[in-house]
């Protein structure tokens, strides 16, 4: 059990800056997911915590004590790798025990006992005498997890552990990981490029891009209150629509003005400051609904260019005043390419971003209910019957 603190951490490889000064607090027993596109510095950050890389500047602390200069083996962390890092010539059992002697203070008997326990927990008792080549991808990942578990580390570090698994297995292992964390409650830092994984697993999600932390928040708040345009577009699939607009203040309130529409914006923080200048309007596809014919003034017209039936919904790609826009309609809607549709955005789900910096300046949801950072939703149990 431990708390990890990163303070202004920088990592440079020669001229290349991988991590540009990040601050992060991973509280004891939490499950923190670091997510971002490849090359954003997330893996490097994890490796800095592991001690496989040394920081160029800044400090990494565990329970308040600096880890800088501490050998990896003395940090009491265990890592799970994307490619499992199993030794091909050793059995699953040997893979778990090899190195455990020098990594921990356990004697051989204790290690054996812990292997038995971990195997039971992971349901791999029958596989312990097999070599990796005789194991499936999911089984290998369990052995790799088992190896980390028997070391009873303060922190689990997981580097894209599910990325080599096929889609179905990934969803199942995701649920098992969540369950495992419920049981062990070991502080976990988990790196992934998959935003769905990040949303479903993390107590807290750290979005990184270009060596910097973009936002740290609970999954739902990340989705509802993206701190900037990058987070807004990275989190959520299909991605949030972004359109260049001008914000006009008027007698009846502010409006986002676009060649294709004049959208009223509910009063809220930041709106006054944005008034009279250009901004980027963000609205998620599922927050745009096909309006009835008499839907009123807030609806605007769009021309459908492409339809993509997804089964549970119908994804429409539309054209509005020269810009492209995606929206989700109900699955069996009678809409085809070339049709003109009327779209109504959910007034509670509009975002404005600064066109230059990309920072969020306004969330319409914030207009009615002020964001309450501490009262965020806790993660719902990840194990649902459908997923098992």
């Amino acid at each position: 059990m431990a708390r990890i603190t990163l303070e202004n951490v920088r990592k440079e490889y020669g001229d290349v800056v991988a991590v540009r000064g990040i601050d992060l607090e991973v509280s004891d027993g939490s499950f923190v997911v670091v997510v971002g596109p490849s090359g954003c510095g997330k893996s490097t950050t994890l490796r800095l915590v592991a001690g496989l890389e040394s920081v160029t500047d800044g400090d990494v602390r565990k329970d308040g004590e600096s880890l800088v200069g501490v050998e990896p083996k003395d940090r009491d962390v265990a890592m799970v790798f994307q490619n499992y890092a199993l030794y091909p010539h050793m059995t699953a059992r040997r893979n778990m025990t090899f190195g455990a002697g020098s990594a921990t203070a356990f004697d051989d008997e204790e290690i054996e006992r812990r292997v038995t326990d971990a195997a039971e927990l992971l349901d791999i008792e029958d596989l312990l005498d097999r070599k990796p080549e005789a194991l499936s991808g999911g089984e290998r990942q369990r052995v790799a997890l088992g190896r980390a578990i028997i070391r009873d580390p303060d922190v689990f570090l997981m580097d894209e552990p599910l990325s080599n698994l096929d889609a179905k297995l990934r969803i199942r292992m995701r649920a098992e990981l969540a369950k495992l964390h419920e049981e062990l409650r070991t502080t976990t830092v988990y790196v992934t490029h998959d935003q769905t994984e990040a949303m479903t697993l993390g107590d807290e999600v750290v979005v990184m891009n270009d060596g910097r932390v973009q936002q740290v928040d609970s999954p739902q708040r990340l989705y509802d209150y993206p701190a900037n345009r990058f987070v807004a577009e990275f989190i959520g699939d299909p991605a949030m629509n972004t359109l260049d607009v001008t914000v006009e203040a008027g007698a009846d309130g502010a409006r986002a003005v676009h060649p294709g529409f004049r959208l009223p914006l509910p009063d809220g923080d930041g709106l006054d400051a944005a008034a009279g200048s250009g901004a980027v309007l963000g609205v998620r596809p599922e927050d745009l609904s096909l309006a009835d014919a008499d839907s009123g003034a807030d609806a605007f017209e769009a021309t459908v260019t492409v339809t993509e039936p997804l089964g549970d919904s119908l994804l429409l790609e539309c054209r509005v005043g020269g810009d492209r826009l995606k929206t989700q309609a109900s699955p069996r809607s009678d809409v085809g390419a070339g049709d003109t549709v009327a779209l109504t955005p959910d007034p509670e789900r509009l975002h404005l971003f600064d066109p230059d910096s990309g920072e969020a300046v306004y969330h319409s949801a914030g207009a009615t209910t002020a964001p309450d950072r501490d009262g965020r939703a806790t993660r719902s149990p990840a194990t649902t019957p459908e997923e098992r």
């Binding site: 499992y84 890092a85 030794y87 020098s102």
Partner: protein, 299 residues
């Protein structure tokens, strides 16, 4: 089928053939390949084998003098010839010397190169790449290029006529270092990172992870080194005397000693067959890892 699979499959195919179950089938497949192609291939391969077949036949005869193809039938003197060459003319000594030299060079090169490659691949230290190039560059310096000074150096050390002279100068190996480095670079980095997190030291990692994971390559490299060492001729010739002389050079002595009688040729061919045998046996036995290793070397 890949090259390797084909080779490894030879015994199975031979068994299949001998059991006769699929003879008809085989004939059909032979025809499919083209009988002309098989005929051409068989003659070319025979051409390659012919000289050695002659040597084997002559080594069984009492008199080595055959002046026509008609004389190419095995004689009944096999045991006598091999006994005479190996024991009476003491050719076993040369064989033993070659064996000692080749074995020491194989083990020495492997150990020395494994240590160097461990540093080259798994250490983050400055000038490492320069050291690697420095080792690779020795490829440009075969014995003839440094012949005279090497001779004077080894003589000066008082090593002439010792096993040291025909082994130590061979211990640095650009080829071995190169092949092992290529192989280690194909092992995922996460394995060593994982070992590092556990506090497994470099030598333990080498011994318990790298070496067990590289058995095939190590066997292949060993065969290459063995053949290379066994086939050294010029350097042993000049640097060691008769006591320590190697089989290839010993063949000349055998010819000289045997020339007194009329069995000279039978005995010389006996010696030739004996000298060919060890590397040939290794090649045939370990052809699979050998070919695998060669495929790395070309990269």
């Amino acid at each position: 089928m890949t090259l390797l699979e084909t080779i490894v499959d030879v015994p199975n195919r031979a068994a299949e053939y001998l059991s006769g179950e699929r003879t008809g089938d085989r004939l059909a497949r032979l025809r499919e390949d083209g009988l002309a192609v098989h005929a051409a291939l068989a003659s070319l391969v025979l051409l390659l084998l012919f000289p050695v077949l002659v040597a084997v036949i002559v080594s069984t005869k009492e008199s080595g003098i055959i002046t026509g193809l008609g004389g190419l039938v095995p004689g009944g003197n096999t045991y006598a010839n091999y006994y005479r060459a190996l024991v009476e003319l003491e050719f076993y000594r040369y064989m033993l010397n070659s064996l000692v030299m080749a074995s020491v060079v194989v083990v020495g090169k492997l150990v020395v190169s494994l240590l160097a490659v461990l540093a080259v691949v798994y250490y983050r230290v400055p000038y490492k790449d320069i050291v690697f190039l420095f080792i690779l560059f020795t490829l440009l310096l075969p014995v003839p290029v440094r012949f005279v000074p090497l001779y004077r150096l080894v003589t000066g050390l008082g090593w002439n006529n010792t096993v040291l002279a025909i082994t130590v100068p061979y211990l640095a190996s650009a080829t071995t270092v190169f092949v092992l480095r290529q192989h280690f670079l194909s092992i995922p980095p996460s394995l060593v990172e994982n070992a590092k997190l556990d506090g497994v030291g470099p030598l333990e990692f080498l011994w318990r992870v790298l070496i067990p994971m590289s058995k095939g390559i190590l066997v292949g490299v060993s065969v290459i080194i063995f053949v290379y060492a066994w086939n050294q001729y010029l350097w042993p010739l000049v640097i060691v005397g008769d006591d320590l002389q190697v089989a290839q050079v010993g063949l000349g002595q055998l010819r000289g000693q045997a020339q007194a009688g009329d069995v000279a040729w039978a005995l010389t061919m006996t010696g030739s067959v004996l000298t060919l045998l060890p590397p040939l046996v290794l090649l045939v036995l370990f052809r699979k890892p050998l070919l695998e290793t060669f495929s790395i070397q070309r990269k």
